[in-house]
């Protein structure tokens, strides 16, 4: 062991009460940082999960229809009054090609064609307006994992099968195997068998969404062979914007990421992160000030010993390192204790906030990166906090302190 480590450890051991207090202070600080990070990360992940549980990361659709001037006589000056046009369900031209293009965009991990439109679902005399979603079960399941959110039955859309939400099932009194009539554009209507009942965690979605085979939706919505949107899943949902831009550029269509459709959620997430970072920053500052003040006191208390050590031939650099090492040790050990404390708090909190079924209301996100970051930040903080006291110790004039 180098002499400076030996001395640093002995100095820390000597000031037992002081050392315990500062370890406690750093531990509480690091604990707050770990707890807050775990909580906010977990909370945000669960919020995003709830939102993205029934939503694609990126939706590709044709541009909105606009009225165009049909005819412009040569040389004529026209006064044009543009009226907004009602938006029909439009088909994406050459959608197979668009699908391939979208799949080739970096970051995109799945793509599924869908046909979306309005329809009426009826059973007996009861009729409900629903949102018809024509999909291929296999490809769509990779966009929104319906198969994992089924209450009953299967996510299977073969022939004339439909998968409905539990809200609609309740309203129409439907069970798996029952028949359901869906009416679309004009006189187009068909009868489907309920294959599964899902719960996507959103009341509106559970009441309105009806999944039917792609072909059936095309037929009901009068969109033969076409699809109205292509939905994408990206690797990192936080980078959905970039993927959307790339897709839009490659396909010439409109690509909207979930962040555009959920501005408020994103703003909420960002401000949550910002306030959490702010709190963590000030906690770190407080911890740094605590370490620095304890070390300054320790330098003052030990000025004679430091003086005599210097008189005995311990060089200025070594004296400095003795105190820097103390700062780093305080940061390291304190944050190790604090990580345990923060993790304990987070788990306790997760246990207290439970759903009625006993599962955690939201998962706290405790991972190795969090602990490593907290430890590294605290150690560096300790080092930085020790710079001024160490410099002070190094400046001590041995002659002054030993004759005093």
């Amino acid at each position: 062991m180098p002499l400076e480590w030996f001395l640093a450890i002995r100095f820390l051991k000597e000031g037992r009460a002081q050392t315990a207090l500062i370890f406690g202070g750093v531990a509480v600080g690091a604990g707050v940082v770990v707890f807050l990070s775990a909580l906010i990360t977990g909370l945000q992940a669960s919020l995003v999960e709830q939102t993205l549980g029934s939503q694609a990361h990126v939706v590709v659709r044709p541009p909105e229809e606009e009225a165009r001037v049909v005819e412009r006589p040569a040389g004529a000056v026209l006064a044009v009054r543009r009226e907004r046009t009602p938006q029909r369900v439009q088909a994406i031209g050459q959608w197979q090609q668009v699908l391939e293009q979208a799949r080739s965009v970096p970051g995109v991990i799945a793509a599924a064609p869908t046909v979306n439109g309005s329809a009426f679902a009826s059973r007996g005399s009861v009729t409900k307006a629903v949102s018809l979603r024509g999909v291929e079960a296999e490809s769509y399941d990779r966009i929104v994992a319906v198969s994992r959110k089924l209450e009953l039955g299967l996510f299977r859309l073969a022939g004339a099968e439909a998968v409905i939400g539990k809200g609609l099932a309740d309203e129409l009194g439907l069970e798996v195997g029952d028949k359901l009539r869906l009416a679309g554009e004009g006189e187009r209507a068909d009868v489907f068998t309920v294959a599964g009942i899902f719960d996507l965690g959103n009341k509106d979605v559970n009441q309105r969404w009806v999944f039917v085979p792609l072909r059936s939706a095309q037929n009901l919505l009068d969109l033969p062979g076409g699809v109205s949107t292509i939905e994408l899943r990206v690797e990192d949902y936080l980078k959905a914007d970039e993927a959307a831009q790339l897709v839009a550029a490659r396909t010439g269509l409109v690509a909207e990421s979930w962040t555009e459709l959920n501005r408020q959620l994103l703003v909420a997430l960002r401000s949550q992160s910002a306030s959490s970072y702010m709190i963590q920053f000030f906690v770190i500052v407080a911890v740094a000030l605590g370490i620095a003040s304890v070390l300054v006191v320790s330098v003052v208390q030990k000025s004679r010993e430091v003086g005599i050590l210097k008189a005995m031939g311990i060089c200025t650099g070594m004296v400095q390192r003795v105190f820097l090492i103390q700062g780093a040790i305080v940061g390291l050990v304190g944050s190790a204790l604090g990580s345990a404390l923060g993790a304990g708090l987070a788990l306790l909190f997760a246990n207290l906030a439970q759903n009625p079924d006993g599962s955690a209301l939201f998962p706290v996100d405790l991972n190795a990166t969090l602990f490593l970051t907290a430890t590294a930040v605290a150690t560096v903080t300790g080092l930085v906090a020790a710079v001024a006291p160490a410099a002070r110790a190094a400046r001590l004039d041995p002659a002054e302190v030993i004759h005093a």
């Binding site: 062991m1 180098p2 002499l3 030996f6 001395l7 002995r10 100095f11 051991k13 000597e14 004679r304 010993e305 003086g307 005599i308 050590l309 210097k310 008189a311 005995m312 031939g313 311990i314 060089c315 200025t316 070594m318 004039d397 041995p398 002659a399 030993i402 004759h403």
Partner: protein
Amino acid sequence: MPEPLLELKEVVKDYGTPPLVTRALRGVDLSVTPGEFAALIGPSGSGKTTLLNVIGLLHKPTSGRMTLAGTDTTRLDDDGLTRFRARTLGFVFQFHHLVPALTALENIVVPMWSLQGRRDESMRRRALELLDAVGLAHKADSRATALSGGQAQRVAIARALANRPALVLADEPTGNLDTASADEVFGLLRRVNRELGTTFLIVTHDPRLAQRTDRVVEIVDGRIVSDEAVATARDQPRPVSAKA
């Protein structure tokens, strides 16, 4: 006349910045030969502590030359001075200034460790020998805080000797001790001087203590005003009685 161990020529030391400059040493010439056991006396404010700081390489002289163990110390930089000090000088102070966080033994090991860069078993053995020499081998593993004043000062002497210094500087080494402990500590310094041939320069304001050394250098107002060998009955006949 052997080569002097320590030689000061016209050493001047100023403190403060203009216009408030205090001249603490006003041209000191001093020469100490190896094996001497000398006392430096003077009233407070006379500059004896300043002289000790200069000789101890803790402060640099403003002007003048100083040679210690054959090295012109005015030419060394800070780190060079620190290393040279560790090799050549031992310090004993009025207050022992042992590091309380360490045991008696560790206090003695630290200067050796610091000088040689890494610890080895020989340092522990040497520290034990030194503790044995000052009669405190049984206190090796006691915390510095658990020692009495006299014991702590003896450990401090052992620490001063750790790196086999050519010159030991002692500043009021017995000033803080009761008479019995003071006698014991002084006797120890004397014994080290006789047995190991270590040179001592002892600062004191106690004339009785000074009379028990071999040479008394008196400094007043930053100048050496007298420098006399002390005649003791045992070492050499008193000049007066010799004449008689």
